[in-house]
């Protein structure tokens, strides 16, 4: 049903929008693309704390990390 799929996509977009805004307010330095990957991982059962630690770890390796201001 295309109509139902459309509304699902629309609902998913709205949720991601809200989550992106919350993550910005909490100053997580996540851009929209990273955020959607993280949300997918969490929905697939990854532990949130584990994921957060992995991200912190990865950020440390990013050569641009020091100048990156989060968006």
């Amino acid at each position: 049903m295309p109509a139902a799929d459309d509304s699902k996509r629309k609902a998913a977009r709205e949720t991601i929008d809200i989550l992106h805004e919350i993550s910005t307010l909490l100053n997580t330095h996540l851009d929209r693309q990273s955020l959607s990957y993280c949300v997918s991982l969490i929905e697939n059962g990854v532990n949130p704390e584990a994921l957060a630690n992995v991200i912190k770890d990865l950020r440390q390796h990013n050569p641009q990390q020091r100048s990156d201001n989060g968006l």
Partner: protein, 807 residues
């Protein structure tokens, strides 16, 4: 055959790449493989270890050796998608990509994967998360940052309204990652999130202003010819339309005006001829011919895996009967030819079972139960394919860990994975009549047999899973009947519509019938099911809707005959609400009143009154009343008080007694002592019988019936109680034909008052009448005494009373 286990949910390009890599497009891998074998040298031992990237262990310090769990099927769907996401995430966050910084990327990715799989964290406590967020909002407010607090609160509320399932986990994740929001967050950051406003749409006025449509030839027919590049021969550019004098096949024109074309040659990479040769060599199947080709153990393994998944393979051949045969075209260096071929034959036997199962799933059945079973088997085969694909993947995807390449180890693993399938294949093959109606019963018997045999867990579990789907399909009509009283056209069902148009008063007994046909599942209490459905129909006739919510059957997690059958019984009981509802209807409402009133009409006082009325000449009234007793009850009550004439019998028994009494009472005074004595005795006899009927028969029997009806749990029980009442009444009224001599004698006795009344005023002696009385009374008394030994207790009482009259 040849189905690839693609997870339809995954859609990222990288995932598709991986699967394509898994499914046997092995050229790039084989090239690498050959390069490595050259480096490490072919080991002489039967198992050769192939190390991917031996020098790079993960930063975490552990080189992972792959270990397979048997039921890797479930892992397939879960692990491939997060792997793809992990890759994307690593790329985006770390800035390293697979193409440009392969080594660092792989290190980071392995670390990330390990980190993500770490389960040593506490589960998210959603209340804790909520309280931390509340605390944060509170902090914002305390530090005079109301707009931020409101912004956060609003969005949390919006998120809650969305009803996202993993919201607590996601929020917990944010909290772990948040970086001093109280100090650093600015509300202006939210504005930056908004996408820039799109440019206003182009209007025709602007287009025309830019390029007016009044040039010469602009409205003429356009010729579409084939240009140098046929796909670009249609020009959308308005500038070009003014140059239509030149054919649109001008390459220079095209190149200038059309958008930049993607040059396909950019995508091609120059390869050296060596690599081409290596690839061609690695495609060993091109060299198959008369000579035996030597292949590597890994190539052999991958060919076996292809065959097991039903994909055409170079080492095996499948005939039209789905029998797999290994070809004697290749060998591996590590083993002898005959040993290798033995191994391949073993795989071929397994492959045959799988191929035949796959072939069977394509067969068309008309019955819905075999179709459901086929769907179950197909689903499980799909999962099996996933396990095999995972094994295959381990040889293709380089994870920086060591993978053992051993065809013998593969043999063991495959044997373990396919063990349950052998049993399933035996079931299907030995059952030539799968389309038969008792197919489900045979499956169930097999399950019970496997349990008794102590069959191993996976095999029993496979059979049980495969059984559940057709069983659920089988339950559907039963569930439908119990929940809405609907009968589906199902040849297995023993419940039939017997008489669709029968009177409502006989709906319970006559409209439906339960005809056991040997196809019912042994565990299902069909009689209970039948009763429940009938109650639903009755309640529908009474105007009740939505009688029972649909409750699904939940099979126990593990199979044992007792547990399964207990679960079925529990399910049927859970659907039994309509029975109770109907009973409540019968007892409490107007129907209950009608039931008791109907019983009252059978009691002594009312029928006696009718008898007296009749004697006084009110025949028509009496007749009407007697008919009303029969037909006047509400239809629901008539289902309980089935066709009967007992009230007529009682009436017909009472009538002569009252008639006798009336006749005797109307006799005038007399001085003849013999006549008086006879009159007295006849009166006594009539009274004795009347007392017997009203006090010893009707009253207690009806009382007992009322108790039984109150205690009855369903209509069947009530109808039985009523039927028993009728039988007992008829017996105690001496109606059975075996007692005819007695009743004839009683009738003769009751004729005596009339005879007496004829001679009352005359001088005729009544000796003859008196003798007749004594003779008849003695006969009746002895007769009742003899039947009372084995019969009703009340007969004994009657016999005793009558015996006083014989003295």
């Amino acid at each position: 055959m040849g189905r690839k286990p693609l997870d339809p949910a995954a859609s990222t390009p990288r995932y598709r790449e991986q699967v394509a890599g898994l499914a046997g497009a092995a050229a790039p891998f084989r090239a690498d493989n050959i390069a490595r074998n050259r480096d490490t040298g072919n080991a002489a031992s039967p198992t050769s270890h192939l190390t991917f990237d031996a020098t790079s262990k993960t930063e975490c310090g552990i080189s992972q050796s792959s270990s397979f769990t048997a039921d890797a099927a479930n892992m397939m769907a879960h692990s491939v998608r997060p792997n793809a996401l992990t890759d994307e995430l690593v790329e985006v966050i770390s800035g390293f990509s697979m193409e440009k910084d392969t080594r660092q990327f792989k290190l980071l990715r392995d670390c990330a994967s390990k980190g993500l799989r770490n389960q040593h964290y506490a589960r998210v406590n959603q209340f804790d998360v909520a309280s931390r967020l509340d605390g944060l909002i509170e902090k914002f407010r305390i530090l005079n940052n109301e707009p931020l607090a409101d912004a956060l609160q609003t969005r949390l509320d919006e998120l809650r309204d969305q009803g996202t399932k993993s919201a607590p986990e996601i929020l917990s994740f944010f909290l772990h990652l948040s970086d001093k929001p109280v100090e650093k967050t600015r509300l202006a950051d939210l504005e930056l999130l908004k996408p820039p406003a799109p440019p206003p749409p182009l209007t025709w006025a602007e287009i025309i202003a830019d390029d007016p449509l009044n040039e010469e030839g602009v409205w003429d027919e356009v010729e579409f010819g084939t240009g140098s590049n046929s796909e670009e021969s249609v020009s959308f550019d308005e500038e070009q339309s003014s140059d239509r004098s030149t054919p649109p096949s001008n390459p220079a024109q095209d190149a200038r005006d059309l958008p930049e074309l993607y040059d396909a040659s950019d995508a091609a990479q120059e390869m050296s001829q060596n690599i081409m040769d290596e690839i061609t060599q690695a495609q060993f199947w091109r060299q198959l011919g008369s000579e035996i080709v030597v292949i590597t153990e890994l190539q052999a393994i991958r060919e076996v895996l292809l065959m097991l998944r039903g994909i055409p393979s170079s080492l095996f051949q499948v005939d039209k009967y789905d029998k797999v045969r290994s070809l004697r075209a290749c060998r591996i260096a590590q083993t002898s030819i005959s040993a290798f071929h033995d191994i391949l034959d073993d795989f071929a036997r397994t492959g045959t079972i799988l191929a035949q199962l796959r072939g069977w799933t394509k067969q068309k059945y008309e019955q819905v139960l075999p179709q459901a079973y086929q769907a179950s088997v197909e689903r499980r085969l799909w999962q099996f394919d996933g396990s095999i694909a995972e094994i295959d993947e381990s040889f293709v995807t380089r994870t920086g860990s060591t993978v053992t390449v051993s065809i013998l180890e593969l043999e063991n693993r495959v044997r373990y994975l396919t063990e349950p399938w052998r049993s399933v294949a035996t079931t299907i093959q030995s059952d030539r009549h799968i389309a038969g109606l008792d197919f489900l019963d045979r499956l169930y018997e097999r399950l019970c047999y496997l349990t008794m045999e102590g069959s191993d867990g996976p095999t029993l579990s496979y059979h049980y899973t495969l059984y559940q789907e057709p069983f659920k399909v089988y339950l559907k009509p039963i569930a439908r009947w119990m929940q809405s009283g609907e009968l589906l056209d199902d040849p297995r069902s023993p419940i039939r519509l017997a008489d669709q148009h029968c009177d409502l008063g006989r709906m319970w007994s006559d409209r439906f019938e339960l005809v056991p046909n040997g196809l019912e599942h042994p565990a299902i209490p069909m009689k209970k099911v039948f009763t429940i459905g009938k109650c639903v129909r009755m309640l529908q006739e009474l105007g009740h809707d939505n009688i029972c919510p649909a409750i699904d059957f939940r099979p126990p997690a593990e199979f044992s005959k007792e547990r399964f059958e207990a679960a079925i019984n529990r399910w049927v009981d859970s659907c039994a609400a309509p029975v109770i509802t109907l009973q409540e209807c019968l007892r409490d409402s107007a129907h209950g009143q009608a039931l008791w009133k109907s019983l009252d009409l059978l009691d002594g006082p009312y029928l006696s009154e009718l008898a007296i009325r009749s004697i006084d000449g009110g025949d028509r009234y009496v007749l009407a009343e007697l008919t009303r007793i029969r037909t006047g009850a509400p239809w629901l009550i008539r289902n309980i008080m089935r066709e009967h004439n007992v009230h007529l019998c009682i009436y017909n028994a009472l009538l002569p007694l009252y008639r006798a009494k009336t006749t005797l009472q109307r006799l005038s005074a007399s001085t003849r002592s013999d006549k008086l004595a006879l009159r007295q005795r006849l009166l006594w006899f009539a009274d004795t019988l009347l007392t017997y009927m009203t006090m010893d028969v009707l009253k207690p029997t009806l009382l007992q019936a009322r108790t039984r009806l109150r205690q009855a749990t369903d209509i069947d029980a009530m109808a039985t109680a009523f039927a028993q009442l009728v039988t007992r009444l008829e017996a105690q009224l001496l109606l059975p034909s075996t007692l005819k001599p007695i009743t004839t004698a009683i009738a003769s006795l009751l004729d005596l008052p009339l005879a007496l009344s004829h001679v009352w005023e005359t001088n005729v002696t009544v000796d003859e009448l008196g003798n007749g009385y004594v003779r008849l009374l003695t006969f009746v008394t002895h007769g009742i005494q003899s039947i009372s030994r084995d019969g009703e207790q009340s007969w004994g009482l009657l016999a005793e009373k009558l015996s006083w009259g014989c003295m």
